[in-house]
């Protein structure tokens, strides 16, 4: 069977990450040139969504880790 091995090479993973970071920078720059029509004042603030997206996901993981301490049980808990 033919196999794809593109991500077996660390340099390919690195390349992908560089492309990813570059696209983030592009998104940050583009935002300065976008005409906004916002419902809320902060929505029009430059790069609001970038900050909110990042903070949301970090908060998500942070809270999930706390939640895990409370709700985690063994797989045979109900048996």
């Amino acid at each position: 069977m033919k196999e794809l091995k593109i991500f077996d090479k660390p340099e390919n993973v690195k390349r992908l990450l560089y492309i990813f970071y570059a696209s983030l920078v592009v998104l940050l720059i583009i935002d300065f040139f976008i005409h906004k029509h916002a419902d809320f004042p902060w929505e029009a603030a430059t790069n609001f969504f970038a900050v909110y997206g990042f903070v949301s996901c970090v908060a998500l993981i942070f809270i999930a880790k706390i939640l895990r301490k409370i709700v985690k049980r063994k797989e045979n808990y109900y048996d």
């Binding site: 990813f20 969504f49 909110y52 996901c57 998500l60 993981i61 999930a64 939640l67 049980r73």
Partner: protein, 589 residues
Amino acid sequence: MINSIPPAAIFIIGALFIPFLRGKIKSAYMLLLPVIAFYILVTIPEGKHWVVRLLDYDLIFGRIDRLSLVFGYIFSIISFIAILFAIQVKDDVQHVSGLIYAGGALGVTFAGDFFSLYIFWEIMAVASTFLILARRTEKSHAAAFRYILVHVVGGLFLLAGIIIYVSKTGTTEFAFMELKGLEAYLIFFGIAVNAAIPPLHPWLQDAYPEATVTGAVFLSAFTTKSAVYVMARIFPGAEILIWLGAFMTAIPIFYAVLENDIRRVLAYSLINQVGFMMCGIGIGTALAINGTVSHAFCHILYKALLFMSVGSVLHVTGKIRCTDLGGLYKTMPVTCLFCMIGAASISAFPMFSGFISKSMIVSAAGHGKLVIVWLMLQFASAGVFHHAGIKVPFFTFFGHDSGIRAKEPPLNMMIAMGIAAFFCVFIGLFPQPLYSILPYPVDYVPYTGAHVVGQLQLLMFGALAFTLLILSGYYPAELRAINLDTDWFYRKGSRLVVYIFTGISMKIAQICDFLFIKFFPEKLGAISRKPIISLIGLYYKTVGKDTAPLEGYSENPKPETVNLIPAGISVLFSVFFLMLLAVIFFVGL
């Protein structure tokens, strides 16, 4: 001529013939049913159809208007895809119940009166249970049992509400209702169970991951979305739904991050997506309802696509846990691509279907100046990308190499996924056809610069957080563990109830056993055999005299054999006389 049959009947009656067909004819027949249903829906004019008078009420099987038609279209389309995905399955139970289930969903969608709504509602509950049972494992049997119990309870609430409503108004027809009065609350509760509104949601994440590979595709489409339809029909603008919906988008994503079973991750993200729809129904403006309906349309397609792609993995590898999978892109690149299209759609990436529908709901929240709700929806949008968009494809197809080298699934499964993937991309690129069938006229433009860039920033920086957390090792590890949810209350609570009741009833049984099997019969038997001696003995005992003079008369410990009439004869007699009584009663009437 074919228009005289309701689409629900085509599925439900059509399904009954499946066991008698074989081979290619069977496959063709099964695929033909949704095509016929779709054709009927395309050609039928709006209005009331298929009205049957039963007793004093009208059963309306065809309320055709713009709201019900959209759901009818998508239910037929997804039935076709799900049947195609399942066609190689050699288990008629699954085929028949899947089609009856789809028919039930169509019946609910076009029901114009409460009675037919309720009938189809219960048909769905029963038929869908078989899709879980058909996995034929101990776990799936238990999950199916809990699933049907929850739905029966929900159905009873709905029925109670319907009965009060009908006795109050004198009609079974229903339309918009205010959330006021007992009957409205009961009906609301019944629908909320099927819509999986927290804390009534755990049946979904409990049962769907235990269903069969192909059954889960059916399940992901019908129950919650038909509840969305009924909710949008009866309670648009009910303010409580805004908040319930907002919480519904947020709560499941924490669980989805922790969950190990990939289909359970998808089940949680399903609840999250239905939360957006509930929120839209609660807002209730034309934009919000349009957003809800279009989101349901898109959601059914991409959620089915996701369930199909990870279902394919389960089908070929037999494994579904994050801890067991990884690196499958190497030998299943096409399935991987389909999964990523589904992931991009659910994450609402521009160019994919979720983007053009979800943004309507979020914009409606913005236009309504609902600050906290808007922030919660944006948080949930970033969160859904995190778990359904990245986690599902990453841990299944990339991540650590599990060493599994599985082949792509069978061709029919690939085609089914291909069709769903095509719709996801097509709707994302050309939203106009979908917009043109929505209940209200659409003047919404999804592709504005601010919108696209804002959404991309939200998603990409969410992805950045994922990347950094994974690279730093802070991301919660995949563990072989389960996470408690609100089903704990009935799964553990039921044991408490059983413990209490068996405890009490065992005690009562023991006492009864002692009194009626041992104590009274023995004593009575002894007394009746030698009545005078026993009575004298008893008398002596109570007054404290010596019983020695009676020794010689004391009874034989072994009772003599007695000719008894067998109990069966007396039962026969009583049945006979009861029958006689019944005959006299009815004839006399």
